[in-house]
C-alpha cells in the first residue's frame, strides 16, 4: 500500500500546527511540499527530523522489496512488485529452463535441440534461458547456453514446487505471490520455480497458466519446440509494459515477393494495426508492399489527431526511403479512416517531388481481400 501526499501530510508538524511547522530543514518550502514529494519517492523520509515513529515504520516496511531477485549468470529471476500487470509492468520474464540429465538416453540429442532452439517474434530473439545439467557435458556441447549444475540449481535461493496437481500448484503460486506483495512477508520473498515433468497433454495448459500466475521460472525435464515457442509467445504478451503501446519497426514490409509493379499499402506502426493488415496481405495471393510510418506506436486515427501521421511526414519518409525509384507503381492505398487526407497527402507528396497518387482503402483490415479483388481487376 502507498500513502498519498495528503495522508503523509497529516503526520507532519505542518498539519498538526505544532512547533517546527514548515521548518524547511528537509529542503522543501513547506511540510505539504515535502509530503507530496515523499509520496512520489522524490525525497528521503530521513531528511525530515520530525517524522513520527509510526510513519517511519510504515515507510520501512513499505520500501522493502516484496520479492527477491536472483541472478543466474546474468539471467534475472523474480523481483516482482505487483499482482496484476495493469498496476505496474511485471519485471523479469518467467525464465524457461530445461533439465538435461546425462544418465538418460538421448540426452545429447536433447541438448543439441535446446542449443539450436531460437525463435524471433516482434523483433525479439528468444532462446532457452537456462539449462540445468545433471551430470557432466563437454563445453563444446553447451557452448552459448546459460548452464548451471543440478547442485547449483538446488542451492539457489529459489522456492521450488513440483507440479503434481494443477489445482494445488495454482493455489500455492497465488498464495506465495499474494503474501509477498500484500504482506511483504519474508517467508514468501523467494522467486518461485515450478518443475514441469513429462509430456502430459495438458502441460501447455498448466505452463501457460503458471506464466500468468505466478511462476518466476519453469523447469522442463522434456523439451518440445512447439510447446516452448507457444509459451514464449504468451510470455511476450504478459510481460509487455502495459503503459507502452506495442509498436513495430517503421519500414517497408514485403509480402509474397513483390516487384516494382506490386500494389502498395500504407499504415502506422501500432502493432495491432500492423498485424491485422500484415496478416491479410500475407494471405492474399497478390504480392504487395506495406509502408509502415513511424507514429510512436499509435493507431491510425490516434496518430492522425496527435499529428504523428501528417502529409508532410509521409512525403518526407517516402523521399528518405527513396521509394519512388524502387517501384513503378504510382498508387498508394491508405487506411479508409484517413480518407479525408487524400488531397493533402497528394499535394505534399507532389511538393516533395514524387508523383504518387493516393487511393482510399478499407476502414477494417478484414475487408482488404475483397478490396484487392476489385482493385486488381
Amino acid at each position: 500500500m502507498e500513502l498519498s501526499g495528503l495522508q503523509i501530510f497529516k503526520y507532519l508538524p505542518g498539519a498538526k500546527k505544532t512547533e517546527n511547522s514548515n521548518c524547511k530543514k528537509c529542503g522543501c518550502p513547506t511540510c505539504m511540499a515535502f509530503a507530496l514529494k515523499l509520496a512520489k519517492h522524490q525525497v528521503e523520509i530521513s531528511s525530515c527530523p520530525f517524522v513520527p515513529e509510526d510513519l517511519k515504520e510504515f515507510f520501512e516496511k513499505n520500501s522493502k522489496q516484496p520479492q527477491n531477485t536472483v541472478d543466474i549468470n546474468g539471467l534475472k529471476v523474480g523481483g516482482e512488485n505487483v499482482l496484476y500487470r495493469h498496476e505496474k509492468t511485471f519485471v523479469n520474464k518467467t525464465a524457461i529452463a530445461v533439465l538435461i540429465d546425462t544418465s538418460q538416453s538421448g540426452w545429447k540429442e536433447k541438448l543439441q535441440r535446446v542449443k539450436n532452439f531460437e525463435i524471433t517474434r516482434v523483433s525479439e530473439t528468444m532462446r532457452v534461458d537456462l539449462v540445468v545439467l545433471k551430470g557432466i557435458a563437454s563445453k563444446e556441447l553447451t557452448e552459448g547456453l546459460n548452464v548451471i549444475s543440478y547442485d547449483e540449481f538446488n542451492s539457489l535461493p529459489i522456492e521450488v514446487i513440483e507440479d503434481n496437481d494443477f489445482i494445488k500448484t495454482r493455489e500455492k503460486l497465488i498464495e506465495i505471490r499474494t503474501s509477498a506483495i500484500k504482506e511483504k512477508d519474508e517467508k514468501y520473498a523467494k522467486p518461485v520455480c515450478v518443475i514441469m515433468r513429462g509430456q502430459n497433454e495438458n502441460l501447455c495448459a498448466r505452463a501457460s497458466f503458471y506464466i500468468c500466475k505466478y511462476a518466476n521460472m519453469l523447469l522442463f525435464d522434456e523439451f518440445d519446440e512447439a510447446l516452448i515457442s507457444t509459451l514464449m509467445t504468451l510470455r511476450q504478451n504478459i510481460f509487455t509494459d502495459p503503459q507502452k503501446p506495442l509498436q513495430v519497426e517503421a519500414k517497408i514490409y514485403e509480402f509474397n515477393n513483390p516487384d516494382e509493379n506490386s500494389i502498395i499499402f500504407m499504415t502506422t506502426n501500432f502493432a495491432l494495426t500492423f498485424y491485422a493488415v500484415a496478416n491479410e496481405l500475407e494471405s492474399l495471393n497478390v504480392p504487395s508492399y506495406l509502408i509502415v510510418t513511424p507514429a510512436d506506436g499509435m493507431s491510425v486515427l490516434t496518430a492522425w489527431s496527435a499529428e504523428k501521421f501528417t502529409a508532410q511526414m509521409v512525403a518526407r519518409i517516402l523521399k528518405k526511403w527513396d521509394f519512388a525509384n524502387k517501384v513503378k507503381t504510382r498508387k498508394i492505398i491508405i487506411p479508409g479512416l484517413l480518407a479525408h487526407m487524400k488531397e493533402e497527402l497528394e499535394e505534399e507528396i507532389h511538393n516533395a517531388g514524387d508523383d504518387f497518387e493516393i487511393v482510399v482503402g478499407t476502414v477494417e483490415a478484414y475487408a482488404i481481400s475483397d478490396f484487392v479483388k476489385n482493385y486488381v481487376k
Binding site: F117, I167, E282
Partner: protein, 279 residues
Amino acid sequence: MNVHSIRTINLQNLKIGGEDFLQFRPLFCLEVAIYNLDENFQIVKDFYKTTDRTKILELAQESDCDIIGLKFNIDDADKVSDACNLLKALLPKINKPLMIRGVNNDGIDSVLIPELVKVLDRESIVAFANENTYNSIVPETSKGGHILVLRSPIDINLAKELNILSSDLGQSLDKILIDTDIGGLGYGLEYGYSIMEKVKLEGFNGDDYLNMPLISFVTEESLKTKEAKSDTYSSGWGNLSERAKMFEISSASAVAAAGANIIVLNNPDSVRIMKGLFK
C-alpha cells in the same frame, strides 16, 4: 475490505459466475461454425472428419463441454432465413446448454441474431451484441429471457456503458455476459487480458454494472494468427498442427488465469484437456 460476489446466472443445470475470488473453475463452451463448415479451423475439421452437420453436432456433444456453441456464419443478410431453418432443424438434437452466435458483422448481426432468437425454444446464450447492434438485439433477448453476450472494444468504461445501455433497453443485469474482446496469442492478447482482470476486480469491489460473469472468445483469435495457420515457420516453432493446438490451449489457459467464467473452445480435444485441468 468487503469482497462481493460476481452475479450468478443459472442456465439449465449450469451455474455461471457467483465466485468471490479468482481461483474458481471456468466453464467451457465448444463452438462450431455450423452454417458454413468450411470456415472451421483446420484442426477442427481434422477432428470431425465429416461435413454432416448432425454428425458434427453429435460428436461435439459427446465431448465433455459444458455448453455447445453454434455459429451461424452466413455471409449475406439474404441467408437469414436459411440460418433460422438450420437452427430449427438442429434444436431437437441439442441436449446441452446452448449458445448461438452471429457472424461478427454489424449489418448482418442486427438482422440475423433477432431472427435466430425468435426460433429458440429454450433459454440460451446469445452472442453477441455490441454498441452498434444492441438496439436491434436486446428487445428480442430480453423478451425471450435469454442470456446476452455484450462485446465492447477492450475498454472497461465502454464495457460498463454497454451494460447500462442494454439494461435500460430491458436486458436484465442478471442475464449479461461480458466479452471485453481480446487479441490472439502473440497479437495483443495482454490488452484484453488486463481488462478482464480489471473488470473482475471491479466486480469483487461491488460495481453493479461490472459484476457479470466474463466470457472469452480468445481461442478463435489465437487460431486466426499466422503462427497457427502457416507452416512456413522455422523448425524452432515445431510442427504446425501441434502449434495450432497449443495456441488454442495456451490462450484458453491465460484467460482462465484472468478470470474468464466461460471459455469458448474450437477443438473438441481442447475441451478434454482444459476440463481435465480443473477436475
